[in-house]
């Protein structure tokens, strides 16, 4: 039972890390290597709103999500738009932005282990003999709600449908009058907001540290590669695959090997099915 419960929590955590990255790549084919940095930045924005400006917690959270979305859009509008379509340049530019954000935070004194956000719900519950805290249950619930929201947004709203159109065939979408750059801008904003959502749900479990930005990026990339880069459904599936594999590894092999699981999953995917579980990008090469 503990494996089932904590496997689910771990899987949803990974899905939350990856959703924003998958969305941005799916729509704009932009590998946003600043994703982890945006995750950390949103945590510090909420912390500052709460502790420096004295706002209440819900308002701080909402504000952090909005500001993060705006920052994500600004990153696209002022930096990434110039290198769009040049894959290597996109990676270098977005990674440089990540470094600037993370090292900038460190330089401004956001270091140490005492930056924390309070849990939304304190306390714990015992489910079938396994003790779980409410915040982790909230992570699972909110994670499921976010995936549901994304599905609804992309299937039943004009902007969402436009995003899907872009993701499916950019040229056809352009012929239908969809503004490619505007959609990429929206995707970056939405992807950043998803990163912020993940941060604001997960950071109360521990503390806000700059270094976690790199970890989040690595795990998000691992999930997206296994799921098929750009596929949201694939990302969710891969999150569960890696999440449970990690928990089983901890339970039966030792905690020591849990980071290896994600990296091994990348290697195996690239060898066996480079397009990932739900990816279509390399199907032709794979068939050949």
């Amino acid at each position: 039972m503990d494996i089932l419960i904590y496997g689910t929590i771990n899987s949803v955590t990974l899905a939350l890390y990856a959703l924003g990255f998958a969305l941005v790549y799916g729509v704009s084919r932009l590998p946003n290597f600043a994703h982890g940095a945006i995750y950390v930045l949103s945590g510090f924005i909420a912390w500052s709103a709460l502790n420096i400006f004295g706002l209440n917690y819900p308002l701080s959270v909402v504000l952090a999500m909005i500001i993060t979305a705006l920052i994500g859009s600004a990153i696209y509008q002022f930096f990434l738009i110039r290198v769009r379509g040049m894959e290597i340049s996109e990676i270098i530019a977005s990674y440089a932005i990540a470094l600037a954000i993370l090292e900038g935070l460190r330089w401004k004194g956001f270091k140490g282990m005492t930056y924390t956000l309070p849990a939304f719900i304190d306390g714990s519950i015992t489910i079938a003999g396994v003790s779980v805290d409410y915040q982790r249950l909230l992570v699972v619930g909110a994670g499921a709600a976010l995936v549901g929201f994304l599905w609804f947004f992309t299937h039943h709203t004009r902007i969402g449908l436009a995003l899907r159109g872009m993701a499916q065939d950019e040229r056809a979408a352009l012929m239908l009058g969809i503004d490619s750059d505007l959609m990429a801008l929206v995707a970056m904003g939405l992807g950043s907001m998803l990163a912020a959502s993940a941060a604001l749900l997960l950071l109360p479990l521990g503390n806000i540290v700059v270094e976690s930005g790199y970890n989040v990026l690595i795990l998000a990339i691992a999930v997206c590669i296994v799921g098929g880069i750009g596929s949201w459904a694939g990302a969710v599936m891969a999150a569960f695959l890696i999440g449970f594999a990690q928990i089983l590894t901890v339970a039966y092999l030792g905690a020591h090997y849990q980071m290896v699981v994600a990296l091994l999953a990348i290697i195996l995917t690239l060898i066996l099915k480079p397009s990932g579980l739900f990816g279509q990008q390399k199907e032709l090469e794979e068939r050949v």
């Binding site: 503990d2 494996i3 904590y6 929590i9 771990n10 955590t13 460190r106 270091k111 140490g112 282990m113 005492t114 930056y115 924390t116 309070p118 849990a119 304190d122 306390g123 714990s124 396994v130 003790s131 779980v132 805290d133 915040q135 997960l202 479990l205 521990g206 503390n207 540290v209 700059v210 270094e211 976690s212 790199y214 970890n215 928990i247 901890v250 339970a251 030792g254 905690a255 020591h256 849990q258 980071m259």
Partner: protein
């Protein structure tokens, strides 16, 4: 004409010699450069830097260091080694040390590198450049002073002024024995970070515990950056462990302690180099969930106690200077390292590395955390449980929002308490 030219030439030569002498005397009067390779973004880095700064400011305000017949000021040069960050290669730390020596012209190296792996790798470098180094923070591996003992002539420039893993294990077991006698504890679960000192210490704890009749219920090694400890905690709970011995300096250890509290695991978290719990801000950061956590801050003075007359004097001076109490491993030892070096230089009357080494070996100074002496064969500070005898350690427990020193008995300010869900 020829004579006039000869006089002019002699005058020019004389002036040149005089200016050379002036330059060399000006150089001699320059500050003594202390090169500090530290991982400054982490507790064990910034607290060491603050400790050094405070000592340097105090010494300079009092006129500096007497080298032979002249007073010289101290100057610090700090380079961020980043060696506490996950994935940062040891070579980065080595580059920092070499830059301090070659570029910043450091006369002495104080502080780090902070990670054991990096400090061990830096030893040949210190030997190559004949730079006296005093480790003051982070590095706990017993291998460091063992290497000095094994190859004295090569590594004689390396000293360590803070406690090391073997001492820490001894101190921890003194407490375990006390808990065994008082509460009948016998089951021990160990959680360690996947870094050299922590892995090594965890293995030593496992072996010693087994030899001493403890039932070691598990040993889990977590990669640096791990964010979920639930299964390990459940294992501890299911195996009816009464103590969880934690060896982690990564920030994510705060997650472990919060999970421990939320899951109400009936085992006392007993950490060593548990950086997250060492800091005064830990209570607020965990909203009090860290209560009852024990951690070894390695040397007295890193938490309030009356170990020596100098302890609270240092404690208050640090708090006044930095608006925060001394935070953890590396604070009092870094502060004292500057005074110990000053003392050795003044006795050596020189900055010559071999002369300073000889004087450091003769150090006998009552400092912030007791009597400071180095083992002349291994250059490890001599530990003790009585500050009158040697360098004392310090184990604290979080009680009602305060860091209360509970070990050693000679300096204890309180006793170990159990969380309510552990009381029978």
């Amino acid at each position: 004409m020829v004579r006039k030219r000869s006089i002019a030439t002699l005058m020019v030569l004389g002036l040149a010699v005089l200016s050379l002498l002036l330059v060399s005397s000006a150089r001699a009067a320059g500050p003594i450069v202390l090169g500090c390779p530290l991982s400054t973004a982490f507790l064990y880095g910034w607290d060491a830097e603050r400790g050094f700064t405070l000592a340097v400011e105090e010494i300079n305000a009092a006129g500096g260091v007497m080298v032979g017949s002249e007073k010289r000021l101290l100057k610090m040069e700090v380079i961020d080694t980043r060696d506490l960050e996950p994935g940062v290669p040891v070579s980065e730390a080595l580059l920092a040390v070499e830059k301090l020596i070659l570029d910043k012209k450091a006369d002495f190296i104080l502080g780090g590198p902070v990670r054991s792996e990096a400090a061990l790798a830096a030893m040949p470098l210190l030997s190559k450049y004949k730079k006296v180094s005093i480790l003051t923070t982070g590095v706990l591996t017993p291998k460091y002073h063992a290497m000095v003992g094994e190859q004295y002539d090569k590594f004689k420039y390396c000293f360590r002024i803070h406690g090391e893993a073997t001492n820490l294990v001894g101190e921890i077991f003194a407490n375990f024995t006390q808990l065994k006698e008082k509460y009948g504890f016998n089951n021990l679960f160990i959680m360690a970070q996947d870094v050299s000192h922590a892995r090594g210490a965890a293995e030593i704890v496992k072996k010693v515990a087994t030899d001493k009749g403890w039932n070691v219920t598990g040993l889990e090694i977590y990669p640096t950056g791990a964010t979920d400890f639930s299964l390990g905690l459940l294992k501890a709970k299911d195996s009816k462990s009464e103590i969880i011995n934690i060896w982690m300096d990564m920030p994510e250890s705060a997650i472990l302690l919060k999970q421990w509290y939320d899951m109400k695991v009936p085992a006392l978290p007993f950490g060593s180099t548990l950086a997250a719990a060492e800091q005064p801000g830990f209570w607020k950061a965990t909203e009090g969930k860290g209560e009852y956590t024990l951690c070894n801050v390695v040397n007295a003075g890193n938490a309030p106690s009356n170990a020596t007359a100098w302890t609270m004097k240092f404690y208050n001076a640090y708090t006044k200077r930095w608006n925060v109490e001394p935070e953890g491993l590396g604070t009092s030892s870094s502060y004292m390292a500057v005074y110990v070096l000053k003392d050795a230089i003044e006795r050596a009357k020189s900055l010559d590395a071999d002369k300073v080494v000889a004087e450091l070996e003769k150090t006998d100074l009552m400092g912030v955390y007791g009597r400071l002496r180095f083992d002349p064969k291994t250059h490890q500070v001599i530990p003790a449980t009585d500050p009158k005898e040697g360098a004392v350690g310090s184990i604290l427990q979080w009680q009602a929002g305060k860091r209360v020193v509970v070990y050693p008995k000679s300096i204890a300010m309180g006793e170990i308490q159990l969380p309510p869900w552990m009381k029978k």
